[in-house]
Structures are given as C-alpha cells and as structure tokens.
C-alpha cells in the first residue's frame, strides 16, 4: 500500500500537467488530425447558416402573405406605403382607402405579430419539453397546460363576466392562470420524496390533462346556456389568434421574446440530456435545477401563448421534429430555428384560417395540422432514417 502511494506521488510529480495540456498532446502529435476535424465540424455551421437564412426568408414571406391576405386583399406596395406613412415617412398622395389603413394597422398587423409570437413560443416550448422529457410525443401542453388552461377558460366563458385588464379578457387571464396552476399541480404530483423522474412527470401530466379535460366537459354538459356560448368554448379549444387590443402584444411580446432568449441558454444541458438523465449528470448537468427551470420557462411560454390564442395543437409538436429532421438535434441551433419556423408556420396557418371562408374564420388549429402534418410526413419519409429519434 505504502509503496503504491509513494509511487503514484512520484508519478504525479513527473507529470505536473495531467489535465488540459497533457490531454491536448496527441492533437499536436497526430499530424492528420486537424484537417479531419475541421472537415467534420465546419460542415454543420454552414448548414446552420443556410437554415437561418432560409427560415428568415420564409418568415418574411409568411409575414407578407399574412398582412396581405384576408377578407380584403392588400397589395404589397400599399402595405409598404401605409407602413412608411405610419412610421412618419412622406409617401406622397394617399392612393388607398382609409379603411385599408385601419385594416392593416388595427387588425392585420397586431394579428400577424401575435401569430408570430404564439408560433415561436409554442415551437420553443415544444423543443424544451421534447428535450427535457426525452420523448418525441411531448408537446408544449404535455405537462398539464392544455387541460388547465382549457378548463379555466371554459369556466370563464360560461360563468365569469367579461372583465378586461390591459386588453386581456377574463378568458385569457383564466387560461394563463389555469395553465400555470395545472403545471404546478403536475410538478408537485411528479415529485416523490424530493426526487422527480421524467416518467412520473409524463404520467402525472397525462393524468391531470385527462381529469381536467373531463372536468371541462362536465362543466359544459351541466351548463344550460346558449348555442353561441358553447360554440365559443369549442372554437377556443380549437385555437385562434385573438388579439383584441394591441396592448396585449406589449404584455405577451416581451414575455415570449425574453423567454425564447433565455431558453437558448439551456441548449447545452438539453444536448447532454440525449445521453439520458444519468449521462447528463455525469457530464456535469445539475439536472434537478435545470429541469425546474426548463419546466418553469416552458410553462410560461405556453401560458403566454395560450392566453392570446387558445389551444393551437400540433404546431409545438411538429415544428421541432421538422427542424430536427432538417438540421439535426443540436439545441443551440434547434431552439432559434424552431422559434423562426413556428412563427412563420403559424402566420401562414392563420392567414389560411381567415381567408378560406372569408369573411368568417375557421379555427387556426385546423390549419396548423393541415399545413404541418403533410410537411412533417414528407420530411420524415425523405430523410427519416438519418436524423430522427431513436
């Protein structure tokens, strides 16, 4: 024992830099090493750059289509002129109807911006929950948000007076609070003696979603109201961008934009989670702390989205998958890309929802599924073997 101890101390003295410098020795010694890694690692940033450019163009086009399309078609030139005039730039004679200006500035623009925010928030929350729970079926609503928000919104629509705070009606506020409350409930249920496991979180989410979902149905069933109100509940549950007051954007906007920015800070931890929970801990992820923060952030993003849009399904599930197929599972790239993609896709779906049966509207959830579904399947069939979930 003593011999061994002394021996190892001597060894340590001979090689004082056992850490970094010793480790990087072979890199210098292995002559063919440098070109190989640069080949392997530089291919991906290039791909990421192209993806961002592509997604930004897609978002811009979606934005343009979103503000043009609707019951009244506005030309891009008119839109540009109205925007310039609104910004205080002189554009010469007014060649459009006063109503067009109102439609663009009061209706379309807030709606398109709202759609972009909601889409970005849902897609980002989808990435967060899929990464944290290591489950391809996870979506932003998986840990209770949908049923909590749905139940609270149903009760609000049927029973509460339509009060308003900062442009948010009682339904929006109830949905936000109900969603967060349900997540808190799921979280508490999933923590058994101070320890939380992903499986128990998923199960608690499913149970709370189911129970609250049926409580919502029960409320509707017991309520003796008008056809109109039941239709309103049904429409809300299918999802639709509802910006009644531009002030809503000033509340939801900063929450969602900051939330997405903060979410990008969890990329390294989510990447490590690909190794499994123990694997992530072994490479230095403080899993308990990170999981708490990711859950809180995901719930906040989802809650903010739900408060202005109801329950838009499929988007938060499909967008992360679609982008993972396109650019791989690396979260530093996947999080911002999903935010861009989600924003663009929801603007398009919303434009379709308000154009197809204009001047009436269809719930946007129908179109997120109809647009996202085929796209998802196409990508899955094309390169599903390369970069999917295991």
């Amino acid at each position: 024992m003593n011999d061994r101890a002394r021996g190892s101390i001597r060894e340590e003295k001979q090689d004082p830099h056992l850490g970094m410098s010793a480790m990087s020795d072979p890199a210098r010694r292995t002559s063919d090493f440098a070109p190989r890694t640069s080949h392997a690692s530089q291919r991906t940033p290039h791909l990421a750059f192209r993806t961002y450019v592509g997604l930004s163009i897609f978002l811009l086009l979606a934005f343009l289509i979103g503000v043009m399309q609707g019951a009244v078609l506005l030309s891009p030139v008119t839109i540009l002129k109205i925007l310039l005039k609104w910004a205080g730039v002189s554009v010469g004679t007014v060649t459009w109807l006063p109503a067009d200006e109102t439609i663009l500035l009061q209706l379309r623009l807030p709606r398109v911006l709202g759609g972009a925010l909601v889409g970005a928030a849902l897609a980002t929350a989808g990435v967060l929950f899929q990464g944290l729970l290591r489950n391809p079926l996870a979506d932003p609503y998986i840990i209770g948000t949908s049923a909590g928000a749905g139940f609270a919104a149903t009760v609000a629509m049927l029973l509460l007076p339509p009060a308003s705070v900062l442009g948010f009606g009682s339904v929006a506020l109830s949905a936000f609070v109900g969603g967060l409350f349900a997540v808190l409930l799921v979280y508490r249920l999933a923590r058994v003696s101070g320890q939380m496991s992903v499986v128990s979180l998923l199960l608690a989410g499913v149970v709370v979603n189911t129970v609250l979902g049926y409580l919502g149905s029960l409320t509707i069933f017991l309520f003796e109201g008008s056809e109109f109100q039941l239709r309103r509940v049904f429409t809300w549950l299918m999802g639709g961008i509802a910006i009644h007051d531009p002030r809503q954007l000033w509340v939801v906007g900063p929450i969602i934009v900051c939330g997405i920015a903060v979410a990008c800070g969890f990329a390294n931890s989510l990447n490590a989670l690909a190794l499994g929970e123990e694997g992530a801990v072994a490479v230095g992820v403080d899993l308990d702390r990170e999981a708490n923060r990711v859950i809180g952030l995901g719930a906040l993003l989802t809650g903010a989205a739900v408060s202005v849009s109801g329950l838009i399904g499929f988007l938060g599930l499909a967008v992360p998958h679609i982008l993972r197929l396109a650019i791989g599972p690396e979260h530093r790239r996947l999080l911002p890309a999903s935010a861009l993609g989600g924003a663009a896709l929801l603007i398009l779906a919303d434009a379709a929802a308000r154009s197809v049966v204009a001047p009436a509207e269809l719930p946007v959830g129908i179109f997120t599924a109809l647009l996202g579904g085929p796209l998802f399947l196409f990508l899955l069939r094309r390169n599903g073997r390369e970069r999917t979930w295991r």
């Binding site: 392997a40 230095g284 979930w389």
Partner: protein, 264 residues
Amino acid sequence: MAVTAAMHLDGVGFAYPTGFALGGIDLRIEQGEMVAVLGPNGSGKTTLLKLMLGMLHPDAGEVRFKGRVLGAVRRRELARSIAMVPQEIALSFTMTTAEVALLGRTPYLRRFRGPNREDREAVGAAMAATDVLPFAGRPYDALSGGERQRVILAMALAQEPRLLLLDEPTRHLDLSHQLRILSLIHRFNRARGLTVVSAMHDLNLCALYFDRLILLSSGRVVADGPPDKVIQPDLLKEVFGVTVQVEPHPTRHIPWITILPDDL
C-alpha cells in the same frame, strides 16, 4: 497522512429503498492508481461507482475527492475532474460520433456558448487517443460495440478527468476489443497518471491490467490488494461459489486462474 487521497470513502453506507445496501466501505484510492472493483452480480459495484461519481449520496459516512466532500462540490466542477464510462448509453436522437464525443465538454461550456477552439482540441485529442477519428462523421448507432465503447471513452476523456470511473467497460466485447479497451485505459493511467477505478468481471483480465483489486460481496469489501493477494482459490470459492485453480501466468508475474467446474 499528509497527502490527500484522490478518492476517499470513509465509513460509507448506502441503501436503496428496495432494500439493497452497501455498508462499512472504507477505501483510499491514491492519484494514479489503477483499480478494479470485482464481485458477483448485485454485489454493489455499480453503486460504489455511482457513489464515487457523486450521483448517489451516501446515507452514512463521507465520499471525498481530493479532500472535498462530493456533495458540497458543484456538479459542473465535479464533472471536470471525475468522468464515468457507463455500461451503455441510449441516445434519444441519432447523433454522429463527433457529436457524442463533444458532449464530454459539457462541464466546460458556458451558458449561451457553444464549444470553442480549446474544446474542439480536447475532443479531437481524446478521439485521436481512442482512435475513433476515422468514423467521426458516422452515426453512433451504426457503430459496432467495440467502436461505441471507444466513443464513450473518448467522451469521458474529453472531460479531461483526473479520475476515470468505468462500469464493466469490456462487457459485450470480443476478446480483441476487450484487450484494446483495457490497454488504452492502461496507457492513459501510465502516461498521464489518470486514476482509474473500473468495475470488472474477468479475473484474468484484472490481473493483467490492474494493480489493485477490490472484491465486493453483498455490499461489503471482502478483499483489497494487489492481484496475487485477492486472487486466492478459497476466497473466490467463498464469494463466487466457483472452484478455481490459481497458477502463475506463463510470462507475467501475476496469478492466472483456471476454472475447475464441479459438474463436468
């Protein structure tokens, strides 16, 4: 003693809610030692490794790394000094070899930042040392068992640890890959003074590559010492219930066991 041990388990006890327990573990592992942990299935090898990794917290006693109690050190800091090669990893996504190895740099990455040049160099060095660079761009799942084990080893080495824990690194590997993995670890131990603690099953391989064997039985240390002290017929009969004959290895100064089956 004046010098603090690399890993010091002081009266450590640990019990799972299901009943299995590890108890009365007193171990001192010095920097630069090459230690194998042996014992029957369910004797507590993996649990012992997880205690040393700080993934499990002891119910009794203390686990110290270089004098500091593991529970008091931040996870991230710990992962820069102690790395673990688990029995197997199941990735949730398809990832390339290089992407998997890069995850070993997680404890060095800053929030909002990706790997920098230093990180890429460390990963490249680890991948070169484990000879996995030729398939850097191939999906991890498409690799053979031996190749995967080397990728995981590259990931662990990319952490630039002082202590490397391995949980049966030669499991499911053919003979040539078993020797390859062990000789690689041995080289790191000798050249870099990397402390190695590995759960093992094959007694002969242990005798060949390890300086010190710790024999566990039902959650207790029953023997601890150089191979010729631990590889004793009566001790192995008692712990494994197998009759063996121990002879000197033909070319090395180590014991070599031959199994004498009772039923043939």
